[in-house]
């Protein structure tokens, strides 16, 4: 039996340590949040952290906002179980930042104020476009949020080693999951309502350092174990996987070739291309990422933040390569799938194995496991806080202040509504996550990327670069992309009609791909074009202001 977490003594030590470290993180972040709340007076403070962060700070915060538990535990686990294909995911997540860097970050910073809709509605009729942008922002954020919260519940049960039938502080695995979802939800509500963008940003910066530190430590240990011979690590991982050289190439997880079923093979490969496109084009349309560009004083600082973000995210994904193959070699897929079929515990299990080997026995193993588990919690908290902030900002600034109040709300009213909105969104997500906790909702992350790429990105790019674009085009792009992505996924095998679906016992599936991007992204761009052509509306003056502002920063907030 190799490094099974259940080894009772180690588990007890690790669990206590994990909880202590987690409480330290929570205490530290709550202190930061309270401090940040004292600095939060105006609406700009609440929505955009007073635009006072440096490029470096914002770059770290972007990293903290972007690298979710799905990146850390999910990709490491995917590489550990399926080898090379997990790496494909990382590459899409990284390359995507070039779209944000060159086409979106600086122009958005210059022309917008607090939300994505500020740019989309700039030269359009405010109410319909802001409503559409808010609908899309909230949909994307809630999908992403649910995936993170349901994942958090399952993860905590695993990381604390609470399994079916056993209890922890008198709680069964089921109650522990629900308690975790409520705890995560409560903390994210506190971070956002009390600390606003400032508090959330610092939480994300702290998390980015913890995550990078933890991943670096484990990477060095894995490589040291193989005397810094990458080839030896890969060879060992391939041998331990039982799949040989195939493990080091693409095809075990995505684009799987089904012998004798040419059609299914074709669909699988299309699905891989579809996923790849959505990953690359989705990032620059994610509202919680976009609002981060408002937290810096200038477009140059926004550029610098993306450069730092690309650096930190790129290095992190290189680390996950070592973590994933390290877990495959040193823990083994059997031990991993015994803990979690999706492989989410591969990184923590690797931490335990490395600690035991290199830091002196069981205590070392328990210590490193505890550290990595606490880092995973910090990761989840920072991401869900960013998502809650993005959706509550949009509710307050777009729907309340501009649609309902027609731009007549005061700053104080707006911020109060934003705080209430964060509370309501948090509460709704807690309830939804509890209901969804036993459903397979991992696909929601990919769906959030697909919606962002299909609806938000076309609208943003057309807004910034196409003179002719108008209200009708913006509505067509946002709703067309959003609806086509969601409808296709609803009829796809991830929702029904397959054993791993959200509703495995039902079957209304007719769309063969799990990822809608390859259809819905062109649909979004096409809808934006058709909608534009159907309307004669043109606002030359506002477009002049938008373009000059976007490119030069003149008159920027």
């Amino acid at each position: 039996m190799r490094t099974v977490l259940a080894a009772a003594a180690t588990n007890g030590t690790a669990r206590t340590l994990t909880i202590i470290l987690f409480l330290v993180f929570v205490a530290a972040t709550l202190a930061i949040t309270v401090w940040a709340s004292r600095q939060t007076k105006t609406a700009t403070d609440f929505y955009a952290g007073g635009r006072s962060f440096s490029g470096f700070q914002n770059g770290m915060a972007i990293g903290g906002d972007y690298m979710s538990a799905a990146s850390f535990l999910g990709i490491a686990g995917m590489i550990a179980l399926f080898g090379y294909d997990g790496f494909l995911y990382s590459i899409g997540f990284l390359v995507a930042w070039l779209v944000a860097l060159m086409l979106v970050a600086e122009l958005l910073r210059n022309s917008g104020k607090y939300t994505m809709a500020d740019v989309l509605a700039f030269r359009m009729r405010q109410r319909p476009v802001r409503t559409a942008a808010a609908v899309s922002t909230i949909t994307v954020s809630i999908f992403y949020l649910l995936a993170q919260m349901v994942g958090a519940g399952a993860l905590v049960a695993l990381l604390l080693g609470i399994r079916e039938g056993s209890t922890f502080l008198g709680m069964t695995a089921e109650t522990a999951k629900i308690a975790t979802i409520i705890l995560v939800g409560a903390l994210m509500i506190i971070y956002v309502t009390v600390g606003g963008m400032k508090g959330t940003t610092y939480v994300q910066i702290v998390k980015a350092f913890l995550l990078m530190g933890g991943a670096l430590l484990m990477t060095v240990m894995v490589l040291a174990h193989y005397k810094f011979n990458l080839s030896a690590l890969l060879g060992d991982a391939a041998a331990a996987s039982g799949k040989g050289e195939q493990f080091l190439g693409p095809g075990l997880r995505y684009g799987v070739e089904v012998p004798g079923d040419a059609l299914q093979t074709f669909y699988n490969k299309m699905d891989l291309l579809s996923l790849g496109i959505a990953l690359v084009l989705g990032t620059a349309g994610l509202p919680h990422i976009l609002i981060r560009f408002y937290t810096v004083p200038s477009a140059k600082a926004a550029r610098k933040s993306v450069l730092w973000a690309i650096g930190i995210i790129g290095v992190f994904y290189l680390f996950t390569l070592a973590l994933g193959f390290g877990a495959a070699a040193l823990v083994g897929s059997q031990a991993i799938t015994e803990q979690d079929k999706a492989g989410n515990t591969a990184a923590p299990q690797l931490a335990q194995a490395l600690g035991t080997d290199l830091l002196g026995g069981e205590i070392g193993g328990a210590a490193l496991l505890a550290i990595i588990a606490a880092v995973a919690f910090a990761t989840i908290l920072a991401v869900v806080a960013g998502l809650t902030l993005a959706s509550s900002s949009s509710l307050a600034h777009d729907l309340y202040a501009n649609v309902i109040k027609g731009g007549q709300a005061t700053e104080q009213q707006e911020v109060r509504v934003a705080r209430i909105a964060a509370f309501v969104i948090g509460a709704v997500s807690i309830v939804l996550a509890i209901f969804a906790q036993n459903l397979n909702v991992a696909f929601l992350v990919a769906l959030a990327f697909a919606v962002a790429a299909s609806g938000n990105l076309p609208a943003i790019l057309y807004s910034l670069f196409w003179k002719r674009f108008n209200t009708s085009g913006a509505l067509w792009a946002i709703y067309g992309g959003l609806i086509s992505a969601v409808v296709l996924v609803f009829f796809s095998p991830v929702v029904s009609g397959s054993p791993s679906a959200m509703f495995p016992d039902h079957d209304w599936q007719w769309f063969p791909l799990s990822n809608p991007g390859i259809i819905s992204i062109p649909v979004g761009f096409l809808c934006g074009w058709i909608g534009t052509m159907l309307s004669q509306e043109k606002n030359t003056e506002k477009y002049a202001e938008l373009e000059v502002r976007a490119l030069t920063g003149a008159g920027a907030h």
Partner: protein, 122 residues
Amino acid sequence: MTTEAPAVLGEGGQTPITPERYLAVQNSDEFAQLRKALRRFVFPMTVAFFLWYALYVILSAYARGFMTIKVVGNINVALIFGLLQFVSTFLIAWFYSRYAGRTLDPVADRIRSELENGGNGR
């Protein structure tokens, strides 16, 4: 700097910029050149990295024999190709920031200060 004497300074040393002045700047040669300089870099570069990434994904889907050729020890084409995507991303980001700093920022700053200090942006 071709800053003209500001007539009236508004709050924070800025005069409000009227729609006419935005239009005038948008139609100026200097701004047209800035727009062209930006698009000349970011559009082709976006197409290039997207095709380069698409090539990588397509090879991962359809050229598995090629991708699993070993180059050094257990390090195969797929791994090198993947790492090259990292290298190209870092390089393009660096190129862009250098280009923006040298070619775009000076023009943008000049237009901005003219506008905010009450000039007509020519």
